[in-house]
């Protein structure tokens, strides 16, 4: 069942080319600060179909993927105030929420994670402003390089990340030789690396 509005929005955003990098950080903050439902609806339109796709790739059924996606969106609303645009892109933060919801569903124990208010936490060393900027630029470069990867390269990297499949299982699923799987991974990583070295 296609949702009319979503299809129109996706066309407007040119799927596969989010290079303009719409400012979801601003929408996240509007949700956090003023419970802005329009901003939330924009987040929903962009991320919900991708979260659902991500969950399907990890083996959820259609119904489970829809349900977990909805839970993820509810959590995004509830925890929006914890999002810090200086530390992560909205897509990174939303990935971690979806990942954790999925784990919570799969087993009894919640995912064990770092709590930044933990009294035992060893804090980040004090860094000068330059180092902080360099780190966030590195992450931007990783993101930019990934946007430039070919469809085939992205496909194999996704399978490595999302599933517990070995390279030969990936080769089987895509019906390509294992050497091709490996060379696509190598090429993709080389491009990300080159982007960082150009800095």
């Amino acid at each position: 069942m296609l949702h009319g509005n979503i299809v129109v929005t996706e066309k407007a955003r040119m799927p596969g080319h989010p290079a303009a990098d719409p400012d979801f950080a601003a929408d996240m903050q509007s949700v956090a600060q003023s419970q802005d439902r329009d901003a939330f609806a924009r987040l929903f339109q962009h991320f919900a179909p991708r979260i659902k796709a991500f969950l399907l790739k990890q083996g959820a059924s259609l119904a489970q993927a829809e349900e977990l996606m909805q839970e993820t969106m509810v959590t995004i609303w509830q925890k929006a105030h914890q999002f810090d645009p200086a530390k992560a892109r909205a897509s990174t933060w939303i990935f971690t929420i979806a990942r954790n919801r999925r784990i919570d569903r799969l087993r009894k124990q919640a995912r064990a994670d770092v709590d930044l208010t933990d009294p035992a936490l060893v804090p980040d060393p004090l860094e000068d402003g330059e180092a902080v900027v360099a780190r966030s630029e590195d992450r931007e470069r990783i993101s930019a390089a990934m946007r430039d990867l070919s469809h085939e390269q992205l496909q194999v990297i996704k399978l490595c990340y999302y599933s517990d499949m070995s390279h030969s299982e990936i080769a089987n699923q895509l019906d390509i030789p294992i050497g091709t799987v490996k060379s696509r991974i190598r090429l993709a990583i080389a491009r990300i690396k080159a982007a960082l070295e150009d800095a």
Binding site: V74, F95, R99, R111
Partner: protein, 221 residues
């Protein structure tokens, strides 16, 4: 002081992707609590995963999806923004939170330790139903040598107190060792205090090597 022995790229990759067992997560999250270096590496792995999700071919959601979400939000009620108050007694603890949550109290030395062999005691934390995973604390008396051994499956060891030395070097508070069936070692508790370690074993875990190894020069140490 920052740890010197860090999480291997394969294990960190697997944790970021959400593929590790609960026992492993407790050890990894405890190391991350003590290690700003690995927290940053973890953030980069998650940034890549976030980009991958960003590049997913969108899948149609249910027609009433957004309405359902707003209904669930309304049902859950207003959001509590105040940070959760810490349980009393945690303020002074140097036990990382992900481990502290599993303990009856946060004084490691006075846990109900069980003797295994002379000089070595353990406190079992294996979760219910964790058939292929174990999680335990080990307390090794000063000067004790653990005989040469290898490991079943994959094993993570995090030092919480004291230190030990083996073929791979000296391990102190915050340091983490990744061990598997190919690693044979003979650790010696080498300070004048008990060496307390948190150990997770995952019998089923096989790390998928190539991608993390290639990522290492980008993200790694």
């Amino acid at each position: 002081m920052e740890p010197r022995h860090h999480i291997s790229e394969e294990v960190l990759f697997s944790y970021a992707a959400g593929h590790t067992s609960h026992a492993f997560e407790v050890v990894l999250a405890s190391h991350l609590t003590l290690c700003p270096v690995c927290r940053e590496r973890m953030a980069q792995h998650e940034a890549i995963a976030g980009q991958l999700m960003e590049h997913e071919q969108p899948v149609a959601v249910n027609e009433d999806s957004l309405d359902c979400i707003f209904a669930q939000i309304a049902e859950a009620g207003p959001i509590a923004k105040a940070p959760k108050s810490r349980p009393s007694g945690r303020e002074l603890s140097d036990v990382p939170g992900p481990l502290a949550q599993l303990l009856p109290h946060s004084d490691l030395k006075s846990l109900p330790w069980q003797s295994m062999v002379p000089g070595v005691k353990q406190f079992d934390l294996t979760p219910e139903g964790g058939s292929d995973q174990t999680l335990k604390l080990l307390k090794i008396a000063p000067g004790t040598t653990i005989p040469q051994h290898t490991h079943n499956g994959s094993e993570l060891t995090l030092i919480l107190h004291g230190s030990y030395t083996d073929e791979m070097g000296r391990f102190k508070r915050g340091d983490i060792a990744t061990l598997d069936s190919e690693v044979s070692h003979q650790p010696i508790a080498d300070s004048d205090e008990d060496c307390i370690c948190l150990i997770a074993v995952d019998g089923n875990l096989k790390f998928k090597g190539l991608l993390p190894r290639l990522l290492q020069p980008i993200i790694g140490l």
